[in-house]
């Protein structure tokens, strides 16, 4: 079940109701059982996300090392709330309550599943500039 759902999410970016039906057929299960699993696990998204997805760890170690500042910086820089996607579809982000397991790098985020840590607002800016040329030019355009 989980490998199937990971595969769907990898290919489609999220798990749609149609994909749930498809998985149910393949696995020989009622669709409701697939829905039950999809809604239980936080990594499965039932809505499309941005081309790049950022998870901000807010667990205790990151919190004592200043994850709140990272969160606020991301919010003002992207101009969107957690769970939303930038209008160009490039970036979405969320604050995860579960520990991402890289506390020696606190405060840290996962950018497309890869750990990026010991963050400061400047480092975060550099990361954002690096991942998305489209986003970068749009931002610079806004400033003019």
């Amino acid at each position: 079940m989980l490998p199937t759902l990971h595969l769907i999410q990898e290919q489609q970016g999220y798990i749609s109701p149609e994909a749930e039906e498809y998985a149910a057929q393949k696995l020989g299960l009622p669709a409701v059982e697939v829905r039950e699993v999809v809604s239980f696990y936080t990594m499965f998204s039932t809505e499309p996300r941005g081309r790049h997805h950022i998870k901000v760890c807010d667990s205790l170690s990151c919190w004592v090392c200043g994850s709140s500042g990272i969160r606020e910086h991301l919010r003002s820089r992207l101009g969107i709330e957690p769970g939303e996607t930038t209008s160009d579809g490039e970036i979405s982000w969320e604050v995860v309550p579960d520990c991402l397991g890289a506390c020696e790098l606190a405060p840290m985020i996962q950018l497309d599943g890869i750990n990026k840590g010991l963050l400061t607002p400047e480092k975060l800016d550099a990361l954002l500039d690096g991942i998305s040329p489209v986003f970068q030019s749009r931002e610079k355009g806004d400033q003019k």
Binding site: W63, V64, C99, C103
Partner: protein, 425 residues
């Protein structure tokens, strides 16, 4: 400072990921030895070693294996718990990223000892990089015939499957892990039956943590007695401590059992960042009771920390300095538990939610006088009233922090939880 590196010997050494290099540097020697031994001899060696489950529960590993029937009509399974998700814990990630072959070698030893031919490694979904490294290592091992129908030419067959989780803390609880492995939502099972008799797919199953399994190669090579003597009574060997929070050098340190919290913080992790004073330290993940500065002389063993009313848990040490607001820290912890409660048992589902809401209200400045009494009631009503121990972890944190709030950190009489079965071994 004593440096006893067993499982962490190759941390930071990129060569160790390469199977050919690893084979030249002692890789799979323990497994080779085990494959030539009588299974009962292997179990005895592990019992002698006093190796305890390093996922959090600290159950003696060799003893755990003896609960699995030797003769079984059904297949037997090994489930390796790599669902490391207790906040503050990142030690298993180091093994998976730097020395995955040590884990695979340990798996061969465990399977030979218990008579298992299929092993699953359940790795948390967030560990993408470790997952990819592990899969690559397993593939390499198959190519070299270290896994498969004829492991190292011994005639013993063993298949290893790597299974990704998808973001649920509860799946680190052993029976929730099995449910998840079977393709269901991770709801813990009532015990008995215990997994040793009815585990994965209704068959006898051993569940061990990554670090526990990774200690097996050295135990086989150097002997259980040698390993036991590295540690203290009833708690053999070394352990990985993952220290983070307000310290100068956060990271993973492998230290002999019996090392004190003071040594870990001030000698190994470089002391408190900025030379500040210590306010409290969480010794074994956020489910464990916070220790006060006057308690840091305690050895970091399962028994010593349990005697203090806390627990060694997953070895995740989180250091809080004098500037940290303990109410907000507790709010952060309880927010985690309220989100991660699986929702199966009412006291946990409702209790963790209410605790979180009340703490939110307090830190927003709208606390009421009765709130502390209500929170106190929760510590009674939530304790021991649910299937698994997530709820007890939430209560242990709540109780210890509440005490800190009320009296400014002096010793209290804390009760250890009746049953600590969470994040087993």
């Amino acid at each position: 400072m004593i440096s006893t590196k067993l499982v962490s010997r190759f941390f930071g050494n990129e060569n160790a990921r390469d199977l050919a290099w690893r084979l030249k540097n002692g890789g799979y020697e323990g497994a080779r030895k085990a494959l030539g031994m009588d299974p009962q001899e292997i179990v005895s060696e592990v019992i002698t070693s006093n190796l305890r489950g390093l996922g959090g529960a600290g159950f003696p590993t060799g003893k755990k294996w003896t609960f699995v029937p030797r003769q079984s009509e059904k297949p037997k399974y090994l489930a390796v718990n790599a669902d490391e998700a207790e906040p503050g814990t990142f030690k298993d990630r180091y093994i998976l990223e730097w020395d995955p072959h040590r884990l695979i070698e340990g798996i061969i030893i465990c399977c030979k000892a218990v008579g298992i031919h299929v092993a699953y490694i359940y790795i948390r979904g967030e560990y993408l990089n470790p997952y990819e490294r592990l899969v690559a290592a397993v593939e390499d091992a198959y190519r070299q015939k270290l896994l498969g129908p004829d492991v190292m030419g011994s005639g013993f067959s063993l298949d290893v499957h790597v299974h990704r989780g998808a973001g649920a803390y509860i799946c680190g609880e052993e029976t929730a892990l099995l449910e998840s492995l079977e393709g269901k939502k991770g709801w813990p099972r009532l015990k008995p039956p215990f997994p040793a008799l009815e585990g994965a797919f209704g068959c006898p199953t051993v569940i061990n943590n990554v670090e526990t399994i990774s200690h097996l190669p050295e135990i086989l090579l150097k002997g259980g007695k040698w390993f036991a003597e590295l540690g203290v009574k009833n708690n053999g060997g070394t352990r990985l401590f993952a220290i983070s929070g307000c310290v100068s050098n956060p990271g993973v340190y492998e230290l002999p059992m019996g090392t004190t919290m003071r040594e870990l913080i001030y000698e190994y992790a470089g002391g408190i960042k900025g030379g500040k004073a210590l306010k409290g330290v969480i010794p074994g993940g956020t489910s464990s009771a916070v220790l006060t500065p006057d308690e840091i002389g305690t050895p970091l063993t399962f028994d010593a920390l349990a005697a203090l009313g806390s627990m060694a848990g997953s070895g995740a040490v989180i250091v809080l300095d004098e500037d940290i607001c303990m109410v907000k820290a507790l709010h952060n912890i309880e927010s985690f538990f309220s989100h991660e409660s699986c929702g199966q048992c009412t006291p946990c589902r409702e209790g963790t939610g209410w605790v979180h809401k009340i703490l939110s209200r307090i830190i927003e400045g709208n606390g009421q006088k009765s709130d502390l009494d209500t929170l106190n009631d929760f510590t009674v009503n939530m304790n021991g009233t649910s299937i698994c121990a997530l709820c007890e972890g939430a209560v242990m944190a709540l109780k210890s922090f509440m005490f800190a709030l009320k009296t400014g950190f002096t010793r209290m009489t804390r009760r250890p939880p009746a049953l600590w079965a969470f994040l087993l071994l």
